[in-house]
Symmetry: C2
């Protein structure tokens, strides 16, 4: 599996992670997000750009507004990566356990 750190970097910033949480509740416009956050409108737009490039959200123009919603693609990739880490860790644990069992008489 190819998976880079971009999506994690997108959620590494507290403000940006909050933006993602707000958008995950239901689709919202930039103006709505600005009203809910303690940062300027350009800052929100910038964060949305980062999230968009990570394929975690996607924009849908509606008149003069831009409605942002979760992009299942990026979120699904991240979940798949975490699942693999989880499975690998389980396998790694059992290997270690077996090694110790063999060492024991």
């Amino acid at each position: 599996m190819v998976y880079d750190a971009q999506a994690f970097a997108a959620l590494a910033d507290p403000t940006r992670k909050r933006v993602f949480e707000l958008v995950s509740e239901h689709p919202r416009s930039v103006a709505q997000l600005v009203r809910l956050l303690p940062v300027s409108q350009p800052a929100v737009s910038h964060h949305l750009r980062i999230l968009r490039e990570a394929r975690l959200v996607r924009a849908e123009p509606r008149g003069a507004s831009n409605i942002y919603q979760v992009d299942p693609h990026g979120l699904g990739l991240m979940r798949a990566w975490l699942d693999r880490m989880w499975d690998d860790a389980l396998k790694g644990f059992s290997e270690e356990f077996n090694k110790k069992e063999e060492a024991r008489p």
Copy 2:
């Protein structure tokens, strides 16, 4: 649920994410990781400290070595958060869908 961006920040760096992948395959010492990575030993130790503080890995001293392995605690929390984002997004989608249905005659 209380969940901050710390764990995401821990995986946001490519080198650090690679460290976590290597440790997830099976437990490894710092020296082993240094041999597998293109950075210095203090850099590896620093990354491990960040991952440790995010509860994504944990250290177990074995003689002069420190064996690092995945900490299921932090990984489980992150998976739970992603699952909630996923569920919320699904709910948000159906809400939007219903809104449009109501608007349609």
